[in-house]
């Protein structure tokens, strides 16, 4: 351990970036498991311990990386303050996404199952699209490609509009509550997840003072 002082390793900020991507991978893992329980009829209790262990890992990583960001500022002074503040916001968003996967699991643990429902194909398609958005967000964090980020943000806005419309439709549906409410709640969670993923991507391309705000000063994440 002491000898590692003499070895050249990954730069601390690169390491934090790498860990952030791993956290996002963990968050996707939780999302996929929770969705499987709700949409594919997997045993919720069987995936629960994995999701909660993954969430603990995400929370521990967030705390550890926060400490490392403090160390970075203590060692390097204020040069990287914008980067550090951006990471702080980003880590919190990933931690929230992890929590939102638990919210989906809570639905399954409450006995809700959409497996075999007539509209299941639509749910599975949307779930697959969101799961892929985790991967795309991670890729953008690594590549910092502004065009890809813009495309991602456009897709996320479109997805949120769709979710918003679905929630609106379920609220006004003539179907019974036990049919409409879980669907509306699930779309609400999806909307939150997509908004937070968009926030993560925005962190990579926007200056710190305008993160989470639109040009007119209102918050661009209405739902977290």
């Amino acid at each position: 351990m002491v000898l590692s002082f003499f070895k050249k390793g990954e730069s601390p900020l690169d390491r934090i970036s790498h860990e952030t991507v791993l956290m996002l991978g963990d968050a996707r893992h939780s999302f996929d498991l929770a969705s499987t329980a709700l949409l594919a009829g997997a045993d919720a209790s069987a995936v629960s311990s994995d999701i909660r262990a993954t969430d603990d890992r995400i929370n521990a990583a967030e705390q550890r990386l926060r400490s490392e960001l403090v160390v970075h500022i203590a060692v390097n002074g204020g040069d990287d303050i914008g980067v550090v503040m951006g990471y702080t916001l980003l880590l919190k968003k990933i931690e929230r996404i992890g929590d939102q996967a638990k919210n989906i699991l809570d639905l399954a643990e409450d006995g809700i199952s959409l497996s075999g429902a007539p509209d299941i194909e639509e749910f599975l398609t949307r779930r697959q699209t969101i799961s892929q958005m985790y991967v795309d967000a991670a890729d953008i964090l690594v590549s910092l490609d502004v065009d890809s980020a813009r495309q991602f943000l456009d897709r996320s806005m479109e997805m949120n509009r769709e979710c918003e419309q679905k929630i609106h439709d379920y609220m006004r549906s003539d179907e019974p509550g036990h049919w409409a409410v879980p669907r509306a709640v699930l779309h609400r969670y999806w909307k939150r997840i997509v908004a937070n993923l968009a926030g993560i991507v925005t962190s990579a391309i926007e200056p710190i003072q305008s993160l989470d705000y639109t040009d007119n000063g209102s918050t661009d994440i209405v739902d977290d």
């Binding site: 002491v2 390793g9 403090v70 970075h72 964090l141 200056p207």
Partner: protein, 389 residues
């Protein structure tokens, strides 16, 4: 990764790099070696200047430090003034090498330098005074260094005055390292710095300076060169090893304190040639609550040992084995301080408890913190010097 747009929304390629990052690492490495050479020239210039002054002037300047208590507090005040024990101990090494200062006189000064160096991180901790919890953590993190060094001096100075065992240990170590038993030892580094010092002397002579005025000029130039070059070495080394420093601090956070933290504190300090850098970096981390006082403590002790490397380096440019001996006194004093205060279980928590108590009181009455700094590092030393000299 957020550099992509920078603070003005510019792409990173459009943002001009800061000066500190623009210097290539290889060039900074060469620069550090050049500055260290300059530092050694400064130490040698100081030594030569004292020798030029003549015995009478030397006697007038240094007679007062024959009292060890006065010597101790001169060490404190001198180090507070230059904010660096590396600088003050290097100057003491130069004085010992010149013969103006005896080993017996220099030992308390070296110990005083150890106390004086702790003022820097204590001043840094005062920056957190507005937030009670942050201030409590920051001040206790800073003053654990103060209390440890005060306690080490309280125990080891009387021990040294009564037995002389620390200087004996240093002297034996110097003999082993140099392979000689007396002042005939000639440092190879001394020959490398001889010419620039000779050129400086000749230049000053051409400016019609002689004897005492020539000596004083060489001493003043030597002091300025030592202090400035140490600042420059520290700044450049910090930039060179910033990533390793950061990774090491993260390891301390991940693994906790103990001997590993102590060794890491020592390695960082050897690298940056300044215990103040190591201990001051810990203060914002402590204030933010990411590192505990118990984990800071061993890093601080490692920094105490690491900072002695500068005096050892200075001794390489000085004449005779006494210079090396006094540098080794600095090392042994800090090692023995750890053995006694950290090695004996019931003494180990004492500096921590004192630091916590002071921080607790200072949070209730903020002026106490300022009072601590002013009294311990300025008023008491100046009063003692005024009374006893």
């Amino acid at each position: 990764m957020f550099e992509l747009h920078g603070r003005d929304g510019l792409a990173s390629s459009e943002v001009p790099p800061s000066n500190s990052r623009a210097i290539p690492r290889w060039f900074r490495g060469i620069l550090v070696l050049a500055i260290i050479y300059l530092f050694l020239v400064g130490v040698s210039s100081l030594e030569s200047g004292i020798k030029v002054m003549g015995a009478d002037t030397q006697e007038r300047l240094f007679s007062s430090v024959s009292n060890p208590i006065v010597g101790l507090f001169i060490g404190v005040v001198g180090t507070v003034l230059v904010q660096s024990s590396s600088a003050s101990t290097s100057l003491i090494v130069g004085l010992v090498a010149s013969g103006a200062l005896g080993l017996d006189q220099a030992v308390p000064m070296i110990m005083g330098a150890n106390i004086g160096t702790t003022v820097t991180n204590t001043l840094v901790s005062l920056g957190h005074v507005r937030q009670s919890q942050e201030f409590r953590r920051a001040l206790s993190a800073a003053t654990v260094h103060d209390f440890f060094n005060l306690m080490a001096v309280t125990i080891l100075l009387p021990f040294e005055l009564l037995t002389g065992r620390i200087s004996w240990l240093a002297s034996r170590t110097a003999e082993i390292l140099t392979g000689s038993g007396g002042s005939e030892w000639k440092s190879p580094i001394k020959a490398w710095v001889k010419h620039p010092v000779g050129w400086l002397k000749d230049g000053l002579k051409q400016a019609s300076l002689e004897d005492t005025s020539l000596g004083i000029s060489m001493v003043v130039i030597g002091i300025i060169v030592v202090v400035v070059s140490l600042i420059a070495v520290t700044k450049n080394m910090k930039a060179l090893i910033a990533e390793r420093l950061e990774a090491s601090m993260n390891r301390v956070l991940g693994r906790g304190g103990g001997l590993v933290a102590m060794v890491i504190g020592m390695l960082i300090t050897i690298s940056v040639q300044s215990s103040s850098i190591t201990t001051s970096i810990l203060i914002p981390m402590a204030a933010a609550g990411v590192i505990s006082l118990r984990n800071i403590y061993p890093v601080t002790l490692g920094a105490n040992v690491g900072t002695t490397i500068t005096a050892l380096l200075a001794a390489l440019a000085a004449s005779g084995s006494d210079a090396l001996t006094i540098a080794l006194v600095h090392t042994w004093f800090n090692v023995l301080g750890i053995v006694v205060l950290y090695g004996i279980p019931f003494l180990r928590p004492l500096p921590i408890r004192c630091a916590e108590l002071l921080a607790e009181l200072a949070v209730r009455r903020r002026s106490l913190a300022v009072g601590w700094v002013v009294s311990v590092f300025v008023i008491i030393p100046l009063l003692v010097i005024a009374i006893f000299r």
